[in-house]
Protein backbone atom coordinates (compact mmCIF):
# COMPACT_ATOMS: atom_id res chain seq x y z
CA UNK A 1 0.00 0.00 0.00
CA UNK A 2 1.19 3.51 -0.63
CA UNK A 3 1.89 5.55 2.48
CA UNK A 4 -0.67 8.17 1.53
CA UNK A 5 -3.36 5.49 1.35
CA UNK A 6 -2.33 4.11 4.72
CA UNK A 7 -2.40 7.52 6.33
CA UNK A 8 -5.86 8.27 4.98
CA UNK A 9 -7.15 4.87 6.17
CA UNK A 10 -5.82 5.56 9.65
CA UNK A 11 -7.11 9.12 9.73
CA UNK A 12 -10.51 7.86 8.63
CA UNK A 13 -10.68 5.02 11.17
CA UNK A 14 -9.51 6.82 14.27
CA UNK A 15 -11.40 10.01 13.67
CA UNK A 16 -10.63 13.27 15.35
CA UNK A 17 -7.20 14.45 16.37
CA UNK A 18 -5.42 12.59 13.57
CA UNK A 19 -4.07 14.44 10.60
CA UNK A 20 -2.20 13.08 7.62
CA UNK A 21 0.60 15.41 6.51
CA UNK A 22 1.86 14.78 3.00
CA UNK A 23 4.07 17.78 2.23
CA UNK A 24 7.66 17.92 3.28
CA UNK A 25 10.39 15.32 2.91
CA UNK A 26 8.47 12.63 4.79
CA UNK A 27 4.74 12.08 4.86
CA UNK A 28 3.52 11.26 8.33
CA UNK A 29 0.47 11.03 10.55
CA UNK A 30 0.05 13.48 13.40
CA UNK A 31 -1.82 12.02 16.31
CA UNK A 32 -2.55 12.90 19.93
CA UNK A 33 -0.43 11.08 22.46
CA UNK A 34 -3.28 9.16 24.08
CA UNK A 35 -4.15 7.41 20.77
CA UNK A 36 -0.75 5.95 20.04
CA UNK A 37 -1.29 2.55 21.67
CA UNK A 38 -4.60 1.90 19.85
CA UNK A 39 -3.26 3.11 16.51
CA UNK A 40 -0.16 0.93 16.85
CA UNK A 41 -2.20 -2.11 17.82
CA UNK A 42 -4.36 -1.61 14.74
CA UNK A 43 -1.28 -1.16 12.54
CA UNK A 44 0.19 -4.41 13.79
CA UNK A 45 -2.89 -6.57 13.77
CA UNK A 46 -4.75 -5.45 10.67
CA UNK A 47 -3.92 -7.95 7.90
CA UNK A 48 -3.64 -5.36 5.13
CA UNK A 49 -1.35 -3.06 7.11
CA UNK A 50 0.63 -5.73 9.03
CA UNK A 51 3.35 -3.45 10.41
CA UNK A 52 5.43 -6.00 12.23
CA UNK A 53 8.77 -4.17 12.38
CA UNK A 54 9.23 -1.10 14.56
CA UNK A 55 12.29 0.52 13.05
CA UNK A 56 12.88 3.52 15.25
CA UNK A 57 11.40 5.71 18.01
CA UNK A 58 12.96 9.17 18.08
CA UNK A 59 12.38 12.01 20.51
CA UNK A 60 12.92 15.63 19.47
CA UNK A 61 12.98 18.70 21.70
CA UNK A 62 11.16 21.54 19.98
CA UNK A 63 12.13 24.26 22.43
CA UNK A 64 13.65 27.15 20.53
CA UNK A 65 13.01 25.70 17.09
CA UNK A 66 12.28 28.41 14.55
CA UNK A 67 8.62 28.40 13.64
CA UNK A 68 7.49 26.62 16.81
CA UNK A 69 5.46 28.40 19.44
CA UNK A 70 5.46 25.72 22.13
CA UNK A 71 8.12 23.95 24.17
CA UNK A 72 6.78 20.50 23.41
CA UNK A 73 8.58 17.26 22.78
CA UNK A 74 7.88 15.37 19.60
CA UNK A 75 8.02 11.58 19.52
CA UNK A 76 8.37 10.00 16.10
CA UNK A 77 7.63 6.34 15.33
CA UNK A 78 8.86 4.67 12.16
CA UNK A 79 7.14 1.40 11.35
CA UNK A 80 7.56 -1.02 8.51
CA UNK A 81 5.95 -4.16 7.20
CA UNK A 82 8.35 -6.90 6.16
CA UNK A 83 5.68 -8.71 4.15
CA UNK A 84 3.76 -5.84 2.55
CA UNK A 85 6.92 -3.71 2.22
CA UNK A 86 5.40 -0.36 3.13
CA UNK A 87 6.48 2.17 5.77
CA UNK A 88 4.48 4.35 8.13
CA UNK A 89 5.60 7.36 10.14
CA UNK A 90 3.68 8.58 13.21
CA UNK A 91 4.44 11.81 15.05
CA UNK A 92 2.94 12.98 18.29
CA UNK A 93 3.59 15.88 20.63
CA UNK A 94 3.62 16.01 24.40
CA UNK A 95 3.85 19.08 26.63
CA UNK A 96 7.10 19.75 28.45
CA UNK A 97 5.58 19.89 31.92
CA UNK A 98 4.11 16.39 31.75
CA UNK A 99 5.69 14.38 28.93
CA UNK A 100 3.66 11.16 29.25
CA UNK A 101 3.05 8.78 26.36
CA UNK A 102 1.45 5.33 26.48
CA UNK A 103 4.04 2.65 25.92
CA UNK A 104 3.97 0.34 22.90
CA UNK A 105 6.46 -2.15 24.32
CA UNK A 106 3.72 -4.76 24.65
CA UNK A 107 3.17 -4.59 20.89
CA UNK A 108 6.78 -4.69 19.72
CA UNK A 109 9.71 -5.81 21.90
CA UNK A 110 11.90 -3.32 20.05
CA UNK A 111 10.07 -0.49 21.76
CA UNK A 112 11.29 -1.62 25.18
CA UNK A 113 14.84 -0.37 24.74
CA UNK A 114 13.92 2.54 22.45
CA UNK A 115 11.54 3.94 25.06
CA UNK A 116 14.14 3.54 27.79
CA UNK A 117 16.53 5.53 25.65
CA UNK A 118 13.96 8.27 24.98
CA UNK A 119 13.32 8.44 28.74
CA UNK A 120 17.04 8.53 29.55
CA UNK A 121 18.08 11.16 27.04
CA UNK A 122 14.95 13.26 26.69
CA UNK A 123 12.91 12.57 29.82
CA UNK A 124 9.74 11.34 28.15
CA UNK A 125 7.79 8.99 30.43
CA UNK A 126 6.16 6.00 28.85
CA UNK A 127 3.18 4.75 30.82
CA UNK A 128 2.92 1.00 31.05
CA UNK A 129 6.57 0.32 30.33
CA UNK A 130 7.77 -2.72 32.33
CA UNK A 131 11.18 -1.32 33.30
CA UNK A 132 11.58 2.41 32.65
CA UNK A 133 15.12 3.03 33.88
CA UNK A 134 18.13 4.68 32.31
CA UNK A 135 19.89 2.66 29.67
CA UNK A 136 22.74 4.72 28.22
CA UNK A 137 23.76 7.22 30.87
CA UNK A 138 24.92 6.10 34.29
CA UNK A 139 22.11 4.99 36.62
CA UNK A 140 22.40 7.97 38.94
CA UNK A 141 22.92 10.57 36.22
CA UNK A 142 21.09 13.81 36.83
CA UNK A 143 19.11 15.45 34.07
CA UNK A 144 18.11 14.52 30.58
CA UNK A 145 21.04 15.37 28.32
CA UNK A 146 19.44 15.84 24.91
CA UNK A 147 17.11 18.57 26.10
CA UNK A 148 17.99 21.97 24.77
CA UNK A 149 18.11 23.46 28.28
CA UNK A 150 20.38 20.77 29.73
CA UNK A 151 23.11 21.97 32.07
CA UNK A 152 26.39 20.15 31.89
CA UNK A 153 27.47 18.62 35.22
CA UNK A 154 30.49 19.99 37.06
CA UNK A 155 31.26 16.88 39.03
CA UNK A 156 30.28 13.24 39.09
CA UNK A 157 31.24 11.08 42.07
CA UNK A 158 34.22 13.25 42.85
CA UNK A 159 35.54 13.30 39.29
CA UNK A 160 35.83 16.72 37.76
CA UNK A 161 33.64 16.76 34.67
CA UNK A 162 34.28 20.03 32.95
CA UNK A 163 36.42 20.48 29.91
CA UNK A 164 39.45 22.53 30.85
CA UNK A 165 40.31 24.02 27.49
CA UNK A 166 43.85 25.08 26.76
CA UNK A 167 44.52 26.82 30.04
CA UNK A 168 47.51 26.34 32.28
CA UNK A 169 46.75 25.16 35.75
CA UNK A 170 45.13 22.17 37.29
CA UNK A 171 44.32 19.24 35.13
CA UNK A 172 42.47 17.44 37.87
CA UNK A 173 45.39 15.78 39.60
CA UNK A 174 45.74 12.08 40.04
CA UNK A 175 44.96 9.84 42.99
CA UNK A 176 48.59 8.92 43.55
CA UNK A 177 49.28 12.15 45.39
Amino acid sequence: MESLEILSVLAGKFGEGLEAVTEGPESHLKLPAREVASVCTFLKEDPTLDCDLLTCISAVDLKGLKGETTDDFEVVYHLESTRKLHTVCLRLRVPRESPKVPSVSAIWETANWHEREAYDLMGIEFEGHPNLVRILCADDWVGHPLRKDYEYPKEYHGVHCEFEGNQDGTWGGHPGK
Binding site: S58, V60, G67, V76, W108, E109, T110, L136, C137
Partner: protein, 387 residues
Amino acid sequence: MTEAIARESSVHSAPDIRTEELLLNMGPQHPSTHGVLRVIVRTDGEMVLDCEPVVGYLHRCFEKCAESGTYVQAVCYTDRLDYLMAMGNNLGYALAVEKLAGGEIPEMAEFIRVLVTELNRIGSHLIALGTFGLDTGAITPFFYSFRDREMVLDILEEICGQRLNYNYIRPGGVAYDLPEGILKKVEKFLDHMEKSLVEINDLLTYNGIFIHRTANVGILDVETAIRYGVTGPNLRSTGLKRDLRKLRPYGIYDRFEFNICTGTGEYGTLGDCWNRHIVRMQEITESIKILRQVLGSFPTEGEHIAKAMARKVRPAVGAAYTAVENSKGELGFYVASDGSDKAWRIKCRAPSFHNISVLPALCKNTMLADMVIVLGSLDIVLGEIDR
Protein backbone atom coordinates in the same frame (compact mmCIF):
# COMPACT_ATOMS: atom_id res chain seq x y z
CA MET B 1 22.32 -30.88 21.87
CA THR B 2 23.20 -28.87 24.95
CA GLU B 3 19.87 -29.57 26.58
CA ALA B 4 20.42 -33.28 26.20
CA ILE B 5 23.75 -33.00 27.97
CA ALA B 6 22.18 -31.00 30.76
CA ARG B 7 19.46 -33.54 31.30
CA GLU B 8 21.98 -36.32 31.59
CA SER B 9 24.13 -34.55 34.12
CA SER B 10 24.19 -35.95 37.58
CA VAL B 11 23.03 -32.77 39.27
CA HIS B 12 19.62 -32.92 37.66
CA SER B 13 19.17 -36.64 38.09
CA ALA B 14 19.97 -36.63 41.83
CA PRO B 15 16.91 -35.13 43.53
CA ASP B 16 18.39 -34.76 47.01
CA ILE B 17 21.20 -32.38 45.98
CA ARG B 18 20.18 -28.79 46.64
CA THR B 19 21.33 -26.31 43.99
CA GLU B 20 21.33 -22.54 44.15
CA GLU B 21 21.17 -19.96 41.46
CA LEU B 22 24.23 -17.81 40.95
CA LEU B 23 24.17 -14.24 39.73
CA LEU B 24 27.25 -13.84 37.60
CA ASN B 25 28.59 -10.63 36.19
CA MET B 26 30.29 -10.73 32.80
CA GLY B 27 32.09 -7.54 31.94
CA PRO B 28 32.30 -4.65 31.30
CA GLN B 29 35.93 -5.62 31.03
CA HIS B 30 35.95 -9.10 29.58
CA PRO B 31 37.87 -10.70 26.73
CA SER B 32 34.77 -12.09 25.08
CA THR B 33 32.25 -9.30 25.26
CA HIS B 34 33.48 -7.51 22.14
CA GLY B 35 33.77 -4.22 23.91
CA VAL B 36 32.41 -2.70 27.09
CA LEU B 37 29.28 -4.74 27.44
CA ARG B 38 28.08 -6.04 30.75
CA VAL B 39 25.90 -9.11 30.89
CA ILE B 40 24.28 -10.07 34.18
CA VAL B 41 23.73 -13.81 34.02
CA ARG B 42 21.61 -15.91 36.31
CA THR B 43 22.97 -19.43 36.22
CA ASP B 44 22.10 -22.79 37.71
CA GLY B 45 25.53 -24.39 37.69
CA GLU B 46 26.68 -24.17 34.12
CA MET B 47 23.23 -23.56 32.66
CA VAL B 48 22.18 -20.02 31.93
CA LEU B 49 18.64 -19.38 33.11
CA ASP B 50 18.42 -15.75 32.14
CA CYS B 51 20.73 -12.97 31.08
CA GLU B 52 20.42 -9.23 30.88
CA PRO B 53 22.74 -7.10 28.79
CA VAL B 54 23.59 -3.75 30.41
CA VAL B 55 24.80 -1.17 27.93
CA GLY B 56 25.85 2.44 28.18
CA TYR B 57 29.47 2.04 29.20
CA LEU B 58 30.54 3.67 25.96
CA HIS B 59 27.88 6.35 25.74
CA ARG B 60 29.80 9.05 23.95
CA CYS B 61 27.06 11.61 23.43
CA PHE B 62 27.12 11.34 19.64
CA GLU B 63 23.77 13.03 19.23
CA LYS B 64 24.62 16.05 21.37
CA CYS B 65 28.07 16.49 19.82
CA ALA B 66 26.67 16.23 16.30
CA GLU B 67 24.21 19.05 17.09
CA SER B 68 27.09 21.26 18.18
CA GLY B 69 28.75 21.49 14.77
CA THR B 70 27.66 21.91 11.20
CA TYR B 71 26.38 19.03 9.09
CA VAL B 72 29.80 18.50 7.55
CA GLN B 73 31.52 18.61 10.93
CA ALA B 74 29.15 15.97 12.26
CA VAL B 75 30.45 13.42 9.74
CA CYS B 76 33.48 12.72 11.90
CA TYR B 77 31.19 11.75 14.77
CA THR B 78 29.28 9.32 12.61
CA ASP B 79 32.52 7.44 11.85
CA ARG B 80 32.89 6.53 15.43
CA LEU B 81 29.48 4.90 15.73
CA ASP B 82 30.16 1.57 14.07
CA TYR B 83 33.89 2.05 13.85
CA LEU B 84 34.38 -1.17 11.89
CA MET B 85 32.26 0.05 8.99
CA ALA B 86 32.81 3.78 9.20
CA MET B 87 32.17 4.32 5.48
CA GLY B 88 28.72 2.82 5.88
CA ASN B 89 27.90 5.24 8.69
CA ASN B 90 29.17 8.17 6.67
CA LEU B 91 27.08 7.04 3.73
CA GLY B 92 23.92 6.69 5.80
CA TYR B 93 24.33 10.13 7.31
CA ALA B 94 25.20 11.73 3.96
CA LEU B 95 22.11 10.22 2.34
CA ALA B 96 19.93 11.41 5.22
CA VAL B 97 21.19 14.98 4.87
CA GLU B 98 20.94 14.87 1.09
CA LYS B 99 17.31 13.78 1.35
CA LEU B 100 16.60 17.07 3.12
CA ALA B 101 19.02 19.23 1.18
CA GLY B 102 18.40 17.88 -2.30
CA GLY B 103 20.97 18.35 -4.99
CA GLU B 104 22.75 15.94 -7.30
CA ILE B 105 25.73 13.79 -6.56
CA PRO B 106 28.36 13.51 -9.34
CA GLU B 107 28.42 10.13 -11.05
CA MET B 108 32.04 9.54 -10.14
CA ALA B 109 31.24 10.15 -6.47
CA GLU B 110 28.46 7.55 -6.59
CA PHE B 111 30.84 4.94 -7.93
CA ILE B 112 33.48 5.83 -5.35
CA ARG B 113 30.87 5.55 -2.59
CA VAL B 114 29.94 2.01 -3.61
CA LEU B 115 33.61 1.07 -3.99
CA VAL B 116 34.68 2.18 -0.53
CA THR B 117 31.53 0.96 1.21
CA GLU B 118 31.82 -2.55 -0.17
CA LEU B 119 35.54 -2.68 0.64
CA ASN B 120 34.71 -1.64 4.16
CA ARG B 121 31.99 -4.29 4.36
CA ILE B 122 34.58 -6.95 3.53
CA GLY B 123 36.84 -5.52 6.25
CA SER B 124 34.05 -5.56 8.81
CA HIS B 125 33.05 -9.15 8.08
CA LEU B 126 36.69 -10.19 8.32
CA ILE B 127 36.86 -8.84 11.86
CA ALA B 128 33.56 -10.55 12.66
CA LEU B 129 34.92 -13.90 11.60
CA GLY B 130 38.28 -13.39 13.29
CA THR B 131 36.79 -12.48 16.65
CA PHE B 132 34.12 -15.14 16.41
CA GLY B 133 36.90 -17.66 15.89
CA LEU B 134 38.63 -16.28 19.00
CA ASP B 135 35.45 -16.81 20.99
CA THR B 136 35.32 -20.45 19.99
CA GLY B 137 39.01 -20.83 20.82
CA ALA B 138 40.44 -20.75 17.29
CA ILE B 139 43.28 -18.22 17.36
CA THR B 140 44.80 -18.76 13.91
CA PRO B 141 41.90 -17.47 11.75
CA PHE B 142 42.19 -14.18 13.65
CA PHE B 143 45.65 -13.63 12.19
CA TYR B 144 44.56 -14.64 8.70
CA SER B 145 41.59 -12.31 8.70
CA PHE B 146 43.61 -9.41 10.08
CA ARG B 147 46.25 -9.97 7.43
CA ASP B 148 43.59 -9.60 4.74
CA ARG B 149 42.02 -6.67 6.52
CA GLU B 150 45.37 -4.86 6.51
CA MET B 151 45.22 -4.92 2.71
CA VAL B 152 41.79 -3.28 2.77
CA LEU B 153 43.06 -0.69 5.22
CA ASP B 154 46.06 0.05 3.02
CA ILE B 155 43.77 0.78 0.08
CA LEU B 156 41.43 2.95 2.16
CA GLU B 157 44.38 4.75 3.71
CA GLU B 158 45.63 5.62 0.27
CA ILE B 159 42.22 6.97 -0.67
CA CYS B 160 41.44 9.09 2.36
CA GLY B 161 44.42 9.09 4.69
CA GLN B 162 42.91 7.22 7.61
CA ARG B 163 42.88 3.57 8.58
CA LEU B 164 39.83 3.48 10.74
CA ASN B 165 37.66 6.60 11.04
CA TYR B 166 37.56 7.81 7.48
CA ASN B 167 35.45 11.00 7.42
CA TYR B 168 35.30 10.54 3.66
CA ILE B 169 31.72 10.26 2.39
CA ARG B 170 30.19 13.65 3.11
CA PRO B 171 26.84 15.21 2.21
CA GLY B 172 27.20 16.21 -1.43
CA GLY B 173 29.74 13.63 -2.54
CA VAL B 174 33.05 12.39 -1.27
CA ALA B 175 35.91 14.37 0.21
CA TYR B 176 38.80 13.65 -2.18
CA ASP B 177 39.40 12.24 -5.63
CA LEU B 178 40.73 8.74 -6.00
CA PRO B 179 44.53 8.56 -6.29
CA GLU B 180 46.16 7.16 -9.44
CA GLY B 181 46.46 3.43 -9.77
CA ILE B 182 44.11 2.60 -6.91
CA LEU B 183 41.73 0.57 -9.05
CA LYS B 184 44.50 -1.85 -10.02
CA LYS B 185 45.29 -2.34 -6.34
CA VAL B 186 41.64 -3.06 -5.62
CA GLU B 187 41.59 -5.66 -8.37
CA LYS B 188 44.73 -7.31 -7.04
CA PHE B 189 43.17 -7.39 -3.58
CA LEU B 190 40.00 -9.00 -4.91
CA ASP B 191 41.98 -11.75 -6.60
CA HIS B 192 43.85 -12.40 -3.37
CA MET B 193 40.68 -12.27 -1.26
CA GLU B 194 38.93 -14.97 -3.28
CA LYS B 195 41.79 -17.37 -2.66
CA SER B 196 42.10 -16.34 0.95
CA LEU B 197 38.40 -16.91 1.59
CA VAL B 198 38.76 -20.53 0.52
CA GLU B 199 41.68 -20.84 2.95
CA ILE B 200 39.77 -19.27 5.85
CA ASN B 201 36.72 -21.40 5.18
CA ASP B 202 38.85 -24.52 5.30
CA LEU B 203 40.45 -23.37 8.55
CA LEU B 204 37.38 -22.23 10.38
CA THR B 205 33.97 -22.60 8.74
CA TYR B 206 34.21 -26.27 7.78
CA ASN B 207 36.29 -27.24 10.78
CA GLY B 208 34.69 -30.08 12.71
CA ILE B 209 35.25 -28.52 16.13
CA PHE B 210 33.82 -25.18 14.99
CA ILE B 211 30.74 -26.87 13.55
CA HIS B 212 30.28 -28.87 16.71
CA ARG B 213 30.39 -25.70 18.80
CA THR B 214 28.20 -23.48 16.67
CA ALA B 215 25.64 -25.68 14.93
CA ASN B 216 22.21 -25.75 16.59
CA VAL B 217 23.30 -23.16 19.14
CA GLY B 218 21.32 -19.96 19.64
CA ILE B 219 18.64 -20.65 17.07
CA LEU B 220 16.80 -17.48 16.12
CA ASP B 221 13.50 -17.71 14.27
CA VAL B 222 12.02 -15.08 11.99
CA GLU B 223 9.17 -13.94 14.22
CA THR B 224 11.41 -13.38 17.26
CA ALA B 225 13.92 -11.54 15.10
CA ILE B 226 11.34 -9.15 13.68
CA ARG B 227 9.73 -8.61 17.07
CA TYR B 228 13.10 -7.53 18.48
CA GLY B 229 13.97 -5.46 15.42
CA VAL B 230 16.96 -7.57 14.38
CA THR B 231 18.16 -6.80 10.86
CA GLY B 232 21.13 -7.55 8.65
CA PRO B 233 22.93 -10.89 8.46
CA ASN B 234 21.30 -12.03 11.71
CA LEU B 235 17.84 -11.66 10.18
CA ARG B 236 18.86 -13.03 6.80
CA SER B 237 20.28 -16.15 8.41
CA THR B 238 16.79 -17.02 9.66
CA GLY B 239 15.67 -17.34 6.05
CA LEU B 240 14.07 -13.94 5.39
CA LYS B 241 15.48 -12.31 2.27
CA ARG B 242 15.64 -8.69 3.33
CA ASP B 243 18.43 -6.41 2.18
CA LEU B 244 17.95 -2.65 1.95
CA ARG B 245 20.27 -2.49 -1.03
CA LYS B 246 17.64 -4.40 -2.98
CA LEU B 247 14.50 -3.35 -1.15
CA ARG B 248 14.94 0.43 -1.33
CA PRO B 249 18.08 0.89 -3.41
CA TYR B 250 20.14 3.96 -2.64
CA GLY B 251 22.98 5.42 -4.66
CA ILE B 252 23.63 3.26 -7.72
CA TYR B 253 23.15 -0.14 -6.10
CA ASP B 254 20.32 -0.90 -8.50
CA ARG B 255 22.85 -1.13 -11.34
CA PHE B 256 24.69 -4.08 -9.85
CA GLU B 257 23.68 -7.71 -9.64
CA PHE B 258 24.18 -9.57 -6.42
CA ASN B 259 22.31 -12.16 -4.37
CA ILE B 260 20.78 -11.86 -0.94
CA CYS B 261 22.50 -14.45 1.24
CA THR B 262 20.40 -16.45 3.64
CA GLY B 263 22.85 -19.20 4.48
CA THR B 264 22.73 -22.82 3.54
CA GLY B 265 21.53 -24.65 6.67
CA GLU B 266 24.14 -27.23 5.69
CA TYR B 267 25.19 -27.93 9.25
CA GLY B 268 22.69 -27.33 12.00
CA THR B 269 19.54 -25.34 11.25
CA LEU B 270 18.67 -22.01 9.70
CA GLY B 271 19.09 -19.27 12.28
CA ASP B 272 21.81 -20.85 14.40
CA CYS B 273 25.30 -19.49 14.99
CA TRP B 274 26.92 -21.47 12.17
CA ASN B 275 24.40 -20.12 9.72
CA ARG B 276 25.00 -16.53 10.81
CA HIS B 277 28.69 -17.13 10.22
CA ILE B 278 28.23 -18.62 6.76
CA VAL B 279 25.93 -15.71 5.78
CA ARG B 280 28.81 -13.32 6.50
CA MET B 281 31.20 -15.46 4.46
CA GLN B 282 28.74 -15.46 1.57
CA GLU B 283 28.34 -11.70 1.88
CA ILE B 284 32.08 -11.26 1.42
CA THR B 285 31.73 -13.18 -1.85
CA GLU B 286 28.80 -10.99 -2.89
CA SER B 287 30.75 -7.83 -2.06
CA ILE B 288 33.61 -9.08 -4.22
CA LYS B 289 31.07 -9.59 -7.02
CA ILE B 290 29.75 -6.04 -6.65
CA LEU B 291 33.28 -4.63 -6.57
CA ARG B 292 34.21 -6.41 -9.78
CA GLN B 293 31.16 -4.90 -11.46
CA VAL B 294 32.10 -1.48 -10.10
CA LEU B 295 35.63 -1.82 -11.47
CA GLY B 296 34.26 -2.98 -14.80
CA SER B 297 31.96 0.01 -15.24
CA PHE B 298 33.96 2.72 -13.47
CA PRO B 299 33.68 6.06 -15.31
CA THR B 300 36.95 7.11 -16.87
CA GLU B 301 36.29 10.82 -16.72
CA GLY B 302 34.54 12.85 -14.15
CA GLU B 303 34.70 16.24 -12.56
CA HIS B 304 37.05 16.84 -9.69
CA ILE B 305 35.15 15.70 -6.66
CA ALA B 306 36.68 18.12 -4.20
CA LYS B 307 35.61 21.11 -6.26
CA ALA B 308 32.07 19.81 -6.58
CA MET B 309 31.65 19.35 -2.82
CA ALA B 310 29.56 21.91 -1.04
CA ARG B 311 31.31 23.65 1.81
CA LYS B 312 28.18 24.52 3.66
CA VAL B 313 25.10 22.37 3.68
CA ARG B 314 21.80 24.06 4.45
CA PRO B 315 18.91 21.64 4.17
CA ALA B 316 15.31 22.75 4.02
CA VAL B 317 13.21 22.79 7.18
CA GLY B 318 11.79 19.36 7.90
CA ALA B 319 12.76 15.95 9.12
CA ALA B 320 13.17 12.58 7.48
CA TYR B 321 14.46 9.10 8.17
CA THR B 322 16.88 7.35 5.83
CA ALA B 323 18.31 3.89 6.21
CA VAL B 324 21.19 2.02 4.61
CA GLU B 325 22.33 -1.58 4.84
CA ASN B 326 25.39 -1.71 7.05
CA SER B 327 27.37 -4.84 7.79
CA LYS B 328 25.48 -5.28 11.06
CA GLY B 329 22.02 -4.45 9.77
CA GLU B 330 19.80 -1.51 8.99
CA LEU B 331 21.49 1.73 10.00
CA GLY B 332 19.10 4.66 9.99
CA PHE B 333 19.43 8.36 10.62
CA TYR B 334 16.48 10.58 11.53
CA VAL B 335 17.65 14.11 10.82
CA ALA B 336 15.54 17.11 11.84
CA SER B 337 16.60 20.38 10.29
CA ASP B 338 15.66 23.95 11.16
CA GLY B 339 16.98 25.49 7.97
CA SER B 340 20.38 26.52 9.34
CA ASP B 341 23.73 24.84 8.76
CA LYS B 342 23.61 23.03 12.11
CA ALA B 343 21.40 20.03 12.69
CA TRP B 344 18.54 20.38 15.15
CA ARG B 345 18.38 16.69 15.98
CA ILE B 346 20.17 13.66 14.62
CA LYS B 347 18.96 10.30 15.88
CA CYS B 348 20.83 7.20 14.90
CA ARG B 349 19.02 3.87 14.63
CA ALA B 350 21.82 1.44 15.30
CA PRO B 351 21.48 -2.19 14.19
CA SER B 352 23.59 -3.58 17.01
CA PHE B 353 21.24 -1.98 19.56
CA HIS B 354 18.55 -4.41 18.42
CA ASN B 355 20.88 -7.33 17.78
CA ILE B 356 22.04 -7.33 21.40
CA SER B 357 18.51 -6.94 22.78
CA VAL B 358 17.66 -10.39 21.43
CA LEU B 359 20.39 -12.06 23.55
CA PRO B 360 18.12 -12.95 26.50
CA ALA B 361 15.69 -14.70 24.14
CA LEU B 362 18.48 -16.75 22.59
CA CYS B 363 20.25 -17.77 25.77
CA LYS B 364 17.55 -19.40 27.83
CA ASN B 365 18.72 -22.83 29.02
CA THR B 366 22.02 -22.89 27.23
CA MET B 367 25.47 -23.43 28.67
CA LEU B 368 27.55 -20.45 29.69
CA ALA B 369 30.10 -21.24 27.01
CA ASP B 370 27.33 -21.30 24.42
CA MET B 371 26.21 -17.86 25.52
CA VAL B 372 29.65 -16.54 24.59
CA ILE B 373 29.30 -18.16 21.17
CA VAL B 374 25.87 -16.58 20.62
CA LEU B 375 27.24 -13.19 21.61
CA GLY B 376 30.08 -13.57 19.17
CA SER B 377 27.82 -14.67 16.35
CA LEU B 378 25.56 -11.62 16.73
CA ASP B 379 28.53 -9.42 15.75
CA ILE B 380 27.88 -6.34 17.83
CA VAL B 381 29.84 -3.12 17.99
CA LEU B 382 29.48 -1.20 21.24
CA GLY B 383 30.18 2.11 19.56
CA GLU B 384 26.83 2.08 17.85
CA ILE B 385 24.90 0.47 20.69
CA ASP B 386 25.86 3.20 23.10
CA ARG B 387 26.40 5.96 20.56
